[in-house]
């Protein structure tokens, strides 16, 4: 193959100079052996897969076709797990065979760039947990709850099918392509593959999207803590606990990560229990009873300080705490749902599935359901994680399928669990909690009356149920606690109290759930602000070189302040929005996240095309097309829809007209100031939608051009430039999947027999 100037030619794997060390055993299972092993179907294997397919089929039948009074939660578990297994075993293998084509004879960055710090070969199962903890956060816990407005089936289908065909594909491809490039970030890959225009658009879009995502995550926390002395106390205590852990790790016992995490966990539990006691006292209730605006300002100040403090003091210890809680909580949730197996009374499709005026989020099922549930089905944010840390830790190329594709399946399972927890509560309660105060009126009587007036089948909500539930979970009120987190917490408390402790422990479980969601989100806010600050510093640095110096304090502080101001403004806008902040802003969050996914998939499409995978390009084009259609349609509706509840500018026009007509109240805005706020907010939200969609279309179009160019080059026999790191022969071996195959075990035994001085240092095997 001819080489192009300025870059190396794309070379087939067999052309690479990967002369193995003759002293070492093979560094990969022989292709022919692997092929026969994969294609040999023993009767046991056939029986197992037939059973999985059958169980999955029955579960889907129970969820989708049978229309009984109730459906048992266990069917959600079977439908999802069986579908994941089939997707993992069959579809991800297709991607591996035709798109990624890993080559275990090549060293991974963790091997050829090994430095013992950032580039470290990590056991695949450990890395799976590590990667999962990095991608999973509050997103999959919140989106499915909000989407439950439409009934359980649309969300379930999108979460399970979406992850197999879209979300996991994106994560896997980004992880693999970034690994081939020494762990380069998505932004760098975009610039290399799409050129200056596409790359710059991707960078700006990423920055804006991060601001929106941080702001709306912060809004979820504010909504969960507003007027909740217990919540404010226990979440507030996470700050001193983290500071203590930071000092402990830095000065007292460096490196004792597990020890300090256990101490932190015990303190956290004490903070939750203590929160209940403090909230019961008069002074505690008065002191920690904060309104949402105060909490929002507190969070903004906190966000700025946290982002300029050294990592060791606050971010690193809280990260440990958050990881620790994440794994514990998810195991607990899965166990509880399997043991308790709650009956679900929510209909498969609710009355709002066919309408576009739902109170929880406005807009029709297509496209808005698909942006409301982002994390769990397809999350663009993962592309930022999959390029960066994880690729620098992978031991062997073939393991990317387990870690990238498998890790995302796991996150999808978390989303399903969250959905089940949220729909296990009374439906009337769900709507009373998730509809904005402008609709429910804010009191138990008005909320119950309003919910009953919706005419929902089988819903008859009494004010007593609302006040009783609030008392059980230790809150003053649960009316209009929007944002998803409180609903999930009530659902989780409802399930957990049947598992451990009964009603007496419901308040503990509720605040436990609020605490871990807040913990995940605050970590994401800290880290997001830092990453965004560096991106901004880097961009300004192109014009004022001084800004590129990360250690230059004024630059760092200025850029942090700009970023915090940006997300803080969106947060305050959401908190004070007369229409209900989650209601208007959550679609923007989903659209932003899915547009980022479209950008990531565009980059993957261009790379896959340059690697010559034309026949199977549909594997990337399918999720890209879907994400593009969904987000662009959603954006256009948000921009151009004449329905004020859906279109930002339509709403803006309606309120402007009301103001011009001299009205002093309009719709849910009861004062002139509130009406002016709506006019301002809708204008900002509208323009943000415009900017997002324009940037994303630029990226998608440049990716199309790159793809077509690759196709033409291929037809003309011109070699493509690729931006992969040069191939280096590997000097180690590790199996690809969770359970090693017979051939893999044989090879592992061969490596274990090797004299110690010939072996690379071993990564920790467990």
């Amino acid at each position: 193959m001819a080489s192009m100037p300025g870059g190396r030619a794309r070379t087939a794997d067999e052309d690479l100079d990967l002369t193995p060390d003759p002293l070492l055993p093979p560094t990969a299972v022989d292709d022919a052996v692997r092929e026969t092993e994969e294609s040999r179907w023993t009767p046991t294997k056939i029986a197992i897969w037939a059973a999985i397919a059958l169980l999955g089929g029955v579960a889907w039948f129970m969820l989708a076709i049978i229309r009984g009074e109730t459906v048992n939660a266990i069917w959600f578990v079977f439908a999802s797990v069986c579908t994941y297994l089939i997707g993992y075993r069959f579809y991800s293998k297709v991607i591996e065979r035709y798109i990624t084509r890993p080559n275990d004879r090549r060293a991974t960055p963790a091997e050829y760039k090994a430095d013992g710090k950032d580039y470290v070969r990590t056991d695949r199962n450990v890395l799976f947990g590590h990667h999962f903890a990095a991608i999973a956060g509050a997103g999959p816990l919140v989106g499915p709850v909000i989407a439950a407005q439409m009934g359980y089936l649309p969300g379930t289908i999108w979460i399970i099918i979406g992850v197999v065909l879209a979300g996991a594909v994106q994560d896997y491809l980004v992880l693999f392509f970034s690994m081939r490039r020494g762990g380069r970030s998505l932004g760098q890959m975009a610039r290399e593959e799409l050129g200056v225009i596409g790359g710059t658009a991707a960078l700006v879009a990423t920055l804006l999207i991060m601001i929106i995502i941080v702001a709306i995550l912060a809004l979820v926390v504010v909504n969960a803590l507003g007027e909740s002395p217990w919540g404010v106390f226990s979440v507030g205590m996470t700050i001193p606990i983290a500071l203590f852990m930071g000092v402990y790790l830095r000065f007292l016992r460096p490196g004792k990560v597990m020890e300090v995490s256990l101490i932190g966990f015990v303190l956290l539990m004490a903070a939750i229990i203590g929160g209940g006691l403090v909230a019961d006292t008069e002074w505690g209730a008065a002191f920690f009873h904060l309104d949402k605006v105060t909490i929002a300002w507190g969070l903004i100040v906190y966000g700025f300080i946290a982002a300029i403090l050294p990592v060791w003091l606050l971010l690193a210890p809280r990260d440990y705490l958050s990881t620790f809680m994440k794994i514990g909580v998810i195991v607990m949730l899965a166990l509880a749902i399997i043991v308790v197996r709650p009956e679900i009374t929510v209909p498969a499709f609710s009355e709002f599935a066919s309408r576009d005026n739902g109170p929880v989020f406005p807009g029709a099922l297509f496209p808005f359901l698909f942006v409301t549930i982002a994390c769990g089905a397809l999350s663009g944010f993962h592309a930022l994680i999959s390029s960066g840390t994880t690729p620098k830790l992978i031991e062997k190329e073939r393991q990317t399928r387990l870690i990238g594709y498998g890790g995302m399946l796991m996150e999808s399972f978390v989303a399903i669990m969250a959905l089940v927890a949220a729909i296990s509560i009374d439906r009337g309660l769900y709507f009373a909690m998730n509809s904005p105060a402008a609709l429910t009126g804010g009191t138990v009587e008005t909320a119950a009356a309003w919910v009953n007036s919706l005419g929902l089948q089988g819903v008859n909500l009494s004010p007593e149920l609302l006040s009783q539930t609030a008392a059980n979970v230790g809150e003053e009120s649960i009316v209009s606690r929007t944002g998803g987190a409180p609903t999930l917490a009530v659902g989780l408390a409802h399930i957990m109290q049947q598992f451990i402790g009964g009603t007496a422990l419901m308040a503990f479980w509720y605040h436990f759930a609020i605490m871990f969601e807040a913990l995940f989100i605050l970590t994401a806010v800290d880290a997001g602000t830092r990453v965004a600050r560096f991106m901004l510093q880097d961009s300004i640095g192109n014009f004022v070189p001084k800004f590129k110096e990360a250690s230059w304090r004024p630059g760092a502080w200025l850029c942090t302040a700009i970023m915090v101001a940006a997300w803080g403004a969106v947060l305050l806008m959401g908190v004070t929005d007369p229409l209900g902040g989650i209601n208007t802003l959550f679609p923007l969050f989903g659209i932003a996240n899915q547009l980022l996914a479209a950008i990531a998939l565009s980059v993957c499409l261009a790379i896959a095309a340059k690697r010559g995978s034309f026949k199977y390009l549909w594997i990337v084009a399918l999720p890209l097309g879907f994400a593009a259609v969904v987000t662009i349609t959603a954006s256009f509706q948000k921009i151009f829809s004449p329905v004020p509840a859906v279109g930002y500018f339509a709403n803006n026009a309606a309120f402007s007209k009301a103001l011009a007509d001299g009205k002093t109240e309009f719709g849910t805005a009861k004062t002139v100031a509130a009406m002016e706020a709506v006019v301002r907010n809708t204008m900002i939200q509208g323009w943000l939608s415009v900017i997002f969609v324009v940037l994303s279309i630029i990226v998608i179009v440049t990716a199309m051009i790159a793809t077509v160019k690759a196709f033409q080059n291929e037809a003309a026999g011109v070699a493509h430039t690729d931006h992969e790191d040069p191939a280096v022969p590997s000097r180690s071996y590790a199996p690809a999947g969770l359970i090693p195959t017979a051939a893999e075990r044989e090879l592992m035994a061969e490596w274990n027999r090797l004299p110690a001085e010939l072996q690379l240092e071993k990564s920790a095997h467990h």
Binding site: A114, D115, G116, K117, V120, D123, N125, V126, G129, H130, A133, A134, I135, A136, G137, A138, G139, M210, I213, L249, R250, P254, G255, V257, M258, S261, P310, V311, W312, L315, A316, D319, Y320, S322, T323, F324, I327, C375, S379, F381, H382, L384, I385, G388, F520, T523, A524, A527, G528, R530, V531, F534, A550, N593, L760, E761, K762, S763, A764, H766
Partner: protein, 63 residues
């Protein structure tokens, strides 16, 4: 009984791996294997260096 203890230890080791508690040990293994010149960092120095490098190289956490 010993099997349970072993299983528990294995889980604790796994959790430690996921949290990155074994980072220093891995650094030492790398240091030995790659035949670096000079002594390795002490445990205290290593963890300091690790968090200080994160200051100028932040990693996002997901939503």
């Amino acid at each position: 009984m010993s099997a349970i203890a072993e299983g528990f230890r294995g889980f604790a080791r796994y959790l430690g791996g996921v949290m990155g508690a074994d980072a220093y040990q891995k650094y030492l293994e790398h240091h030995v294997a790659s035949g670096h010149l000079g002594p390795p960092m002490t445990e205290r120095e290593f963890w300091r260096d690790r968090t200080d490098r994160q200051d100028s190289n932040p990693q996002g956490r997901c939503c």
